[in-house]
Subunit: 391 residues, 2 copies
Amino acid sequence: MKIGILGFGTVGSGVYEIISNSGNCLMKNLEISKILIRDKNKITLDNMTIEPNELLCDDNIDVIVEVMGGIHPAYEYIMKALKSGKHVVSANKAVVSKYLEEFTQTAKEHNVGFLYEASVGGGIPWLKSIKQVKRIDEISQVYGIFNGTSNFILYNMFEKGYDFNEILKLAQDKGYAESDPSADIDGIDIQRKLTIISSLAFDTVIKEESIPTFGIRHVTKSDINYFKKQNITLKLVATSVKNNNDYCSCVEPVLFTNNTIEANVSENFNIGSLTGSSIGELKFYGQGAGKLPTGNAIVQDIIDIYTEGYQNYPYYFDKKLSLNQNLIKGKYFIRFSNEQSKEVLKDVANDYFKLDSSHAIITNELTIKESQSLFEKLSKSETNLFYARYN
Amino acid sequence: MKIGILGFGTVGSGVYEIISNSGNCLMKNLEISKILIRDKNKITLDNMTIEPNELLCDDNIDVIVEVMGGIHPAYEYIMKALKSGKHVVSANKAVVSKYLEEFTQTAKEHNVGFLYEASVGGGIPWLKSIKQVKRIDEISQVYGIFNGTSNFILYNMFEKGYDFNEILKLAQDKGYAESDPSADIDGIDIQRKLTIISSLAFDTVIKEESIPTFGIRHVTKSDINYFKKQNITLKLVATSVKNNNDYCSCVEPVLFTNNTIEANVSENFNIGSLTGSSIGELKFYGQGAGKLPTGNAIVQDIIDIYTEGYQNYPYYFDKKLSLNQNLIKGKYFIRFSNEQSKEVLKDVANDYFKLDSSHAIITNELTIKESQSLFEKLSKSETNLFYARYN
């Protein structure tokens, strides 16, 4: 089976390395015939080109692997490939999150596969597990840690006492975080992943806009010290819940007691949990990024195409669900700067205390709807507000 | 597709319930046409029988689900079903562990599937994940917590201060442990599961006899109190390691620091870890037993047969590996009664202390070969010896 790869960064070269070097005999059936790169001065292999149509219009290519990132021209290339009867495997959560339904529909019309395991949770067989569970069960909840960079930052703040900016810089120096880190630390990356996860888990189309998202940019050393004293650990978490025909999703910092599995997911690892009607709770843990783990997820998708195994997990996203932001609720830790904000918080505050030079409260139980409205009010006067929900 | 079920205990009735009640449209293709039970006075459904040949000789039945337990006549029924061209799905770790290679070979000769996901880790998609990882990677290590009863006992000793016999009795009253609990607390159940896991992970045939196995029967409240003070947690763990053409397996109590994932696997949950050459470490967590989770694993196998998806994960167990008991090593906690045993331990003891009325040491790093020879010597004079390896 002939493969064309769009993009040859970390993940693209991981795919190349695995297919070239794995001793497994299945690999003999896979041939990387062309690779699209951006810069003609970086051509190092005979089969590299800077001309996308050399891949997209080559009738001999069966599978296009899209690992370019970004929305355009990734969207156009994927659509062109699918429409010309090529299978597509993508690791690009930005474009998959936006166009999952359209890609899936187009693939179905042209009788080819559109697979994207590597777009969420790197090497963890997470999306396929969701599809597998759905063959029998209704899934009522999915949640987890799906961003390695933010987990690396939080883990090192807890374990080694770094403050946020120190460890962010270290992560950037190590190549774990990008020079513009917003997507990772503000939860945008996770929001994209959660649209993919929950669309799959609930058989529907969930849009990024419906997911309230808050990151860890404003977390401080004093927040962390307070959590440590309470034997709780902070993680940046994606959650989606379904109840009958209602759903609710959010991305926000969550506090776990130290004796939970999630609290002990260290360094840049990821974990995903799901709850199914007969299977109960399952958790899947592993490397959520990196050249070989993510490359591995792509090669697994390619093998599923080669063996036609992907046809055993068909998907249509055809359920209609309504957003109901009362489905997720919890107590919140809120840390704020202006004493006047206490007035806004007076009806929900269960416990108030000073945290170094700031103020903090623990709230009563609030729904996402209630907490969102509260944070909107607070944000008018607070610039470094931080909050986290108790699990 | 027509299904015959051999046995209608907890798991058999779980399969029946899932196929009858799941709203998933795939289930409409599955029909339970006959059920074998033992006692004719317990016939409650029209399609129940006490005559095995009514299932095994029925040409209309496509799949036999074997959930009887025990070695005989389960072995004969499975062989008869396979030889007459029926697919077989089994949850019976005792018979699968002993005859995995023969069943697999016979299934291959008759062009049918032999699947046994439910025999290890209940509802966790663990064996299929191993097979999937093996499509690309070499697996160098598998380990985990695969017995819910012993984990329930240890968890409650740690969390609630029970002593061993108290919590064992409670587990028996709740139906979590059998009236003869040896298989669960002496590691026999896990030994069977580890032969299945490591045979799959390493593509070979690993026999129960090659796996040194020690359980938790002799653990005391003072052992647990000592571990708690050290911030470590005790789990009963199965481990297999492969290095080139050597392997080493063992089942023994293992000590994890409290900030690890394993230390926080609570109640009767299971977890399995594997390390693959490109995927790195993956962990899979969930309910390792119970009517619906185990029933779910069986129905997943049936769907894989229905969709022919099982053919995408073929297996032959055809690698030849040698046992090398130097591959696994660690420091040990050893608690013993007779002061004279100190003489046997003097060359390996790194730290000696009194533990209530007993004696305890922490050893230097020992290989499985060394520790086994030591425990054999000690067992001559010690009747309640307890030991655990530091992870």
